[in-house]
Amino acid sequence: MTLVLDIFSIIAICAGTFFFFAGTVGLLRFPDSLSRLHALTKADNVGLGLIVLGLLPLTESLLASLKLVATWALIQLASATTAQLIARALRRSGQVP
């Protein structure tokens, strides 16, 4: 059972790292600000979600798992808000149609 959980953890964390990697490549390579923002927020949310998912079987208590999930939820909220604010600032400054 532990072996199965360990394999699950490794796969989930690796997949999460891949999403972060893809998000970073998008941030560096995409042509305009809005697509860069899109790459960053989407990849980070899924990537962090997968990493948290992979860490869940490794926690020692239910409280620690809940804290991890709460961290993910709070970062979702923060990054969604920040993305909206940056996009709005871009639109106001006339850089995006």
Partner: protein, 315 residues
């Protein structure tokens, strides 16, 4: 070389690179963004040094609140830039500034490198006497029992900072409120965050103050989180800054240092020394002081960010 060592070296290189970026960034706003990233990386360094209390403070104060203060400053500088464009310092002046900076850095490096090894420490004594305070977190023990006078003075400095900011007010705004009026329409995205986050943030802030007695945390870190929650609601224009003439605001500002000094003076009569706690009552007294200090910090930081009053006082 183990993986952790390699990660530590990578982290150190990253901190130095972001620090260089902060200095060389052309625009004030870019420099502030780099500074915030620098603070967050530095708090990771503190975690790796097993100094979680310092890491929490660095993330909350060094990166968070200072970041907001600097973004505000950068915004105001941008408005003033047109008039200040001709006031570029001359080349010799810039060379002199560079030389002075290098000298200060070198002097600091010499001082740090010439420290005795192992460094002189009072940590064993502090750990030995911690039981007398009834606390489980040695950091809180040092801050509020062994070196409580220093901590009290730090809080006084915060009040002095508020006095400094308020003294920039022009005469006609004296007694008015800083920041924008609430009558402006609340802003959708920020309003959503300002409604969702504070219930959780207030809980986490109070939790961090409460566990500070036994685990990493304390009045400064928790107070900074509470301050952030108030700032978010003000940035979303759901609440507004109170006028600086408000009595409750001034009482809240000085409550932390005032309670601290009062208990310190009472120590002369009760325990035979300035800032001494009577035996057996150390922990409850420390928690009492921390409660008021948290209130003070949670009110002081947003007031500092708000800046001098910009609205006419209500008559």
């Amino acid at each position: 070389m183990s993986i952790l060592q390699a990660l530590d070296i990578g982290l150190a290189v990253l901190v130095l690179a972001v620090a260089a970026w902060t200095i060389f960034a052309r625009e004030a706003f870019a420099a502030v963004v780099a500074f915030v990233a620098y603070g967050l990386l530095l708090s990771l360094v503190w975690v790796r040094l097993f100094a979680v209390d310092v890491a929490l403070t660095e993330a909350a104060i060094g990166s968070g609140v200072t970041g907001v203060l600097l973004i505000g400053a950068a915004g105001r500088l941008r408005q003033a830039k047109k008039s200040a464009a001709s006031e570029q310092p001359s080349k010799p002046l810039r060379v002199w500034a560079f030389v002075l900076c290098v000298l200060v850095t070198l002097a600091l490096a010499v001082v740090v490198l010439s420290l005795p090894d192992p460094a002189p420490t009072l940590a064993p004594e502090a750990a030995q006497n911690l039981a007398g305070t009834g606390l489980g977190n040695p950091i809180t023990g040092v801050l509020l029992a062994f070196r409580s006078f220093d901590t009290m003075l730090e809080k006084v400095v915060l009040v002095l900072a508020v006095v400094g900011v308020w003294s920039l007010a022009s005469d006609r705004y004296w007694g008015g409120a800083p920041g924008t009026s609430r009558s402006a329409e609340p802003e959708g995205t920020r309003a959503l965050l300002a409604q969702l986050l504070p219930p959780l943030g207030i809980l986490i802030g109070v939790h961090i103050v409460w566990v500070g007695a036994d685990e990493p945390g304390g009045a400064f870190q928790g107070g900074a989180i509470l301050a952030a929650m108030w700032m978010i609601t003000m940035m979303a224009r759901l609440t507004e800054m109170p006028p600086i003439s408000s009595v409750w605001l001034r009482l809240a500002l000085i409550s932390g240092p005032a309670v601290f000094v009062a208990i310190g003076v009472a120590g002369i009569a009760m325990a035979g020394g300035f800032f001494a706690y009577p035996a057996g009552f150390a922990k409850p007294l420390i928690l009492f002081i921390e409660g008021f200090m948290t209130l003070s910090i949670a009110v002081t930081l947003p007031i500092l960010v708000g800046g001098p009053p910009q609205r006419l006082p209500r008559r």
